[in-house]
Symmetry: D2
Subunit: 434 residues, 4 copies
């Protein structure tokens, strides 16, 4: 490398370092800000096996940087406690046996204060590393740091999902925050649902490498789509109520067999968090118990409920390719975490040349099982466990939600949950043939 | 309709009736022949919730004709016992609440003799109906009878799967039949695995309506496939043993997360039915406990085991579209029920211009989740529950097996099981990118 | 031993042998007679883990003679099948690992015919042995044969309990026998309940060795009893109905905590086998579904229900010592298996100087936990597992029932079941302080 | 009442009030002192359904005074939060539906600080009431306050049991307190076990009303005892180790059937909290992981283990009457909570005219099921649920333990646990016939 080249490299590298460092600080700060309203007691609860205590989330995302960046790349790095590697490894079996997931709520120590100390310790080490990136590993450090930050953003959404679930166990309906933002009051009911047509044919989906993406979004590849239509907005609580009142939860022919069996076993009558008080529907929110807003998108439904609703409505869910084809042309803007509503809100529908609410508000269940794209290769080493090993029995959701950081989403983003799960912010948009 | 036209119609109809009647008789007889080697006691056992007592199978397939053909279309038809409609409805919720599946093994009456009387009674009524098809409903009767016969063939395979599982509970390893056919002894080890290349592009899959097909095989539609290769034969027991001996069941990185959790919980160390006797592997077969034949295809593996093996082998499973593209060009011949081996046998590999063993021997796990094809419409009425409602969390298998009736299979046929299931005759074929 | 003594011994021994042989034949015949009304299919069902298939009962009682009499004492005895020792060992861990109890219903072979052949084979060997008792082991052979016959009688009652439970799974309410005996119709309602007083003090209970008794009935020992009263007859269905209608199953304060939790979990609203048809109570019986007879003793209640009823009635259950003190003075006559009613019947109450129905009709739950008597010693060897190892968490029942062989019961007899169990013929009698 | 009489009454009453008030303050303080070493995080954990979070204990004992003393007897008393009546009711069904026990660990609010505020609030109200006892209800208030204080002392022991179990979940073996007292080092091994003989006969057991006792200890009544012997001290860890090393956990004939099944299911190899580290036995204690002290009494064994050990040792457990007969002559002194060892310690055996360690160290499993004494009457109203409703399937333990407040125990005291439970400080003493 010539002297000039090296200088330019250094300059760019410095700019990159600075940017990454700023981003690192900003994202790390957000996680702590999300937990600021919590009592120490709230940090400890594991309300079901799928939920992790907030304390664990804060520590796990920190462990990720320690395990995958600091230990391999910061010479002389010493962990503050070797036990953390066992406690805060989520599921990386090739890294070492993780602490049993369902028992995360049984461990009082390390304390919340210990975890914040761990965060500060790792932050300091990360800052030292990022400020003086060792040249030979710079690329890999940046790549892994970027992955770690995206990982932490995923856990920010998980934190909000889990905090909601934790507080919802409490019959007092405690409020996470009473100062959440409120959208400008809608003057009129939400616009009627319309359809946008797409011609189909051979299309391309998947990440093209121009920006960060998880391995499961790659490779970009061709798919063949029949012509289809997509609904202009999300299904609303009001529409979903009509389904409930039309005995939707009692009509087996609308349901997948697994879904109807689950409905029966669990006695489902409505989405998660809904409860009837004196004849009216309310739901638990991050602001406590609130009346249902009929204009807002329905949320906290399982895939089974989404499919049953779609059958009832004479439509279907879009495939992930259909969704991505439509979304790829749009700006990824919408009601995200930064809006500080932390709940889906009614579609204001100012424009109608394209579907609204494609990004934000609620994750949209698709008709597609979460399986590898043709030619998919997971990341090398333990990071290969990040996505690939979950590719069975789960369904893809698209578009992000009101708890997703705005810069974390993109048209190619594939989220995934088991079809029975309801505690994520998930709703649906209808599709149909032409 | 002119006099001549009507006459021709009648003639064709009569030929059709005759054909259908012969086919009805033949298929009905096969079910009973399959049960002939059983003791009455064997007919009663439900060895796990997924298994049904053979008695129940014989009655259920008979109920199918009663419920969907005789009651709607044979005037004056009287059921021999109204309770049968409750006992022998499998899962048609819209037809009436079915008897709880997991309790089928708790019901001693109706007896086996009662069930055979029920079969004879329905056969007589069906023969009467088929011999004098009422003109106005002829088409629907034929369609439903054909469906009923295909349904019964599916249960013939289930009978063999379930009988094997039932007898395998018994530590004495009782023999279903000691007179099963044996293939001509292979003089040499099975040929090394080779690869067949396919160019991909926009292809068509699905049933085109030219022959009987289940609703889930429709509509025929276009898919885009990347170029791929398919293995020349099935994976053998010998190859799978190498995977076992290479610690395949202990290496988490080869496994889907759900699969590895299941393996741990259940202590899986080998395919279902395998057991080690004095240091050698044996497996329970329909001829009792037998040594493993290393040349024969591996069988009774779950989807998880199939994917783990493929990872270990540096390959992957084919998608169902890839499999169908390759199979569509081949004759659907192979080692089926009629061979009377009732176990997968070594590939004799006389020709090698195309993949061998695509049909018969073992169902081949594909990489594809069982979901509706674009534009899928289930059958109307209760028969709409036949396939569509199972389209979640299951995987597609292709090609039929050694327990499938030869005239029941075709290239478009989609079988499906949960990824954890192992009691069906399921194995795998490798695929990979080019 | 003098010549004369030996001659007398021989004569007595021959008489004993003849008596024992007759008794052996008679009791063995009864077991088969009880199964005569069954279809082969009925022999196979294990309707819950506590129930054994009738086939198993017939084989197990036979195995008992083989394992504990023939193998040790009949020179050259050969079992017809070594596997039977595994299949038909119930719970004698020191004899060898028994086949898992909950899986008895999963084994179709040996068949029912095999089991009857096993019975005939063992009977022949036993007859040979009993006809020529080897002098040196005569006493032990007689003792064990007697134990084996009492054991078989216990299983005769179990057969009737289990057959009832098996048939009750069937929504058709099949009839075990339609020709059961019927008591002479009661002309009047059952007499009002009266109380019999007992002074208490230091009493003796337990078997004194004068006749056959199980080890758990020994040793005879002193207990101190406060004065008490015992009800003149069993609690009737009519009385129990009043408890039900007074919201007995909803009033937690009447119930033991474990019982109320169980009631809630299982949704108990009435005794086992009761069901409401068009507003009237019926119950499953060995003659199929029958209306409740309000005069007959209530049956198929758990200990929890018995105690709750007693609380509601302002009384309590008797202790086993109280019960035995009262029973010891009475003839052990009553409604037993030989009456061929096979259900509890109304008290005819001809005499009232002492409590009625103390023997037969229903086993009476006592207030006593099943624990060893002071100085209890179990039988030596594997037979020590007969009773002693079950002495935790179970309650004592006394008096025999309508399914107990008449010569199997005595005042000292201790039966035992877990407090949650209901499929045995169990009811209750009230007691109270003076 | 004369003026003088009233004056004397008042004087006595004042003295009583003062005593009671002092006792109230002292006992309430102890509960908080026991929790002082905890982190807030420790207060939240419910490590198994039987364990309650320490926060819940502190609140529940406070609720007891509110529900049973303040609300009925302090005019104008206002609860600080009506929801507490739901959260902190343990099991008083007649008082209102309690919050589900197994979910106590899912509730983060009220917080620990809220609970301490609740305690202070109730303490203030109780002090006001106790300082000015209203004449007409004085007796009942004193009786209930006394019950409430005994109740709180029971929970002090539960707190220590539960804290130990909570911390034991943590693989780091955190220390509850590192400053626990240590007994003077034993100079010699514990004295060999000797036997003390008792003649038996008609004896009296149960509380005579001269001091506080729970309802289940009454009425005092006669029992008949055969002559028996009692071991001079508790079974030690060293003796128990010999049982373990003699394959005690593998020999089914030593065990009750339920116990052996549990042992197999749970893989028990040693008492709870024992673990082998590098070939040596350690156990979790309130001072963290410590080596086993062979001289100290064995602890944390189930009833099944206690009985199996006794069988192995050729002895048995004492009945509760035997134990009480022996204990009634002794001073109730021993190693209690106030010693601040919080673990059982070796017997120093200065005197040997009577059994040692009868009080304190470990609760002694007896051979007696926990059932009502003859003539037992529970307390009236909701307080009747205190003891009586638990009288099924549990066993009696006697003598208190190292975590029991010294003034809480007496010879008539009946503790009770299910035979499977091990987290209480329970060990055993041998008995045998003469």
């Amino acid at each position: 490398m010539s002297h000039l080249a090296r200088e330019m490299y250094n300059e760019n590298a410095n700019a990159l370092e600075t940017l990454l460092l700023q981003r690192f600080r900003r994202i790390r700060r957000v996680s702590e800000a999300l937990c600021a309203p919590l009592e120490i007691e709230d940090y400890l609860i594991q309300s079901m096996p799928d939920v992790s205590p907030p304390k664990w989330h804060l520590a796990h995302v920190t462990w990720f940087f320690e395990a995958f960046v600091l230990k391999p790349f910061l010479p002389g790095y010493q962990t503050p406690d070797p036990a953390y590697d066992y406690f805060f490894n989520s599921y990386y079996e090739t890294h070492g046996t993780p602490f049993p997931r369902a028992q995360r709520g049984l461990i009082s120590r390390p304390t919340v204060a210990d975890v914040y100390r761990f965060r500060a310790y790792v932050d300091e080490a990360m800052e030292a590393l990022l400020m003086h990136l060792p040249e030979e590993n710079a690329e890999e450090i940046v790549r892994r740091t970027e992955l770690g930050l995206n990982h932490e953003q995923q856990h920010q959404e998980l934190l909000l999902m889990d905090i909601k679930h934790i507080l919802a166990q409490n019959p007092l309906h405690p409020c996470y925050r009473s100062d959440l933002a409120t959208p400008a009051a809608a003057v009129a009911p939400v616009a009627p649902l319309r359809w946008h047509a797409y011609p189909g044919g051979v299309c391309q989906i998947g990440a093209d490498g121009s920006e960060f993406a998880f391995d499961c979004e790659t490779p970009r590849h061709r798919v063949y789509l029949e012509p289809f239509q997509l609904a202009s907005r999300l299904v609303t609580n009001g529409e979903y109520l009509a389904f409930i009142e039309d005995q939707g939860y009692a009509r087996s022919n609308l349901w997948l067999s697994d879904g109807f069996a689950l409905l029966r076993k669990n006695g489902w009558q409505a989405p998660l968090y809904w409860e009837k008080v004196d004849g009216s529907w309310y739901h638990m929110t991050l602001s406590g118990l609130q009346p249902i807003d009929e204009q807002a998108p329905v949320c906290h439904v399982s895939f089974y409920e989404a499919e049953a609703y779609a059958s009832w409505a004479g439509a279907r869910l879009p495939s992930e390719a259909e969704w991505e084809l439509a979304a790829a042309r749009l700006q990824p803007t919408g009601n995200f975490m930064e809006n500080d509503y932390l709940r889906p809100v009614a579609c204001d529908m100012l424009a109608d040349t394209s579907p609204q609410q494609m990004f934000g508000d609620v994750w949209e269940w698709t008709a597609s099982a979460y399986r590898p794209y043709p030619g998919f290769k997971p990341l090398p080493g333990s990071l290969g466990e990040y996505n690939g090993k979950f590719m069975s029995s789960q369904m893809v959701l698209r578009g992000g939600c009101c708890a997703t950081p705005a810069d974390h989403i993109r048209a190619t983003y594939r989220n995934f949950f088991y079809p029975s799960m309801r505690w994520q912010f998930a709703g649906l948009r209808l599709a149909k043939e032409i």
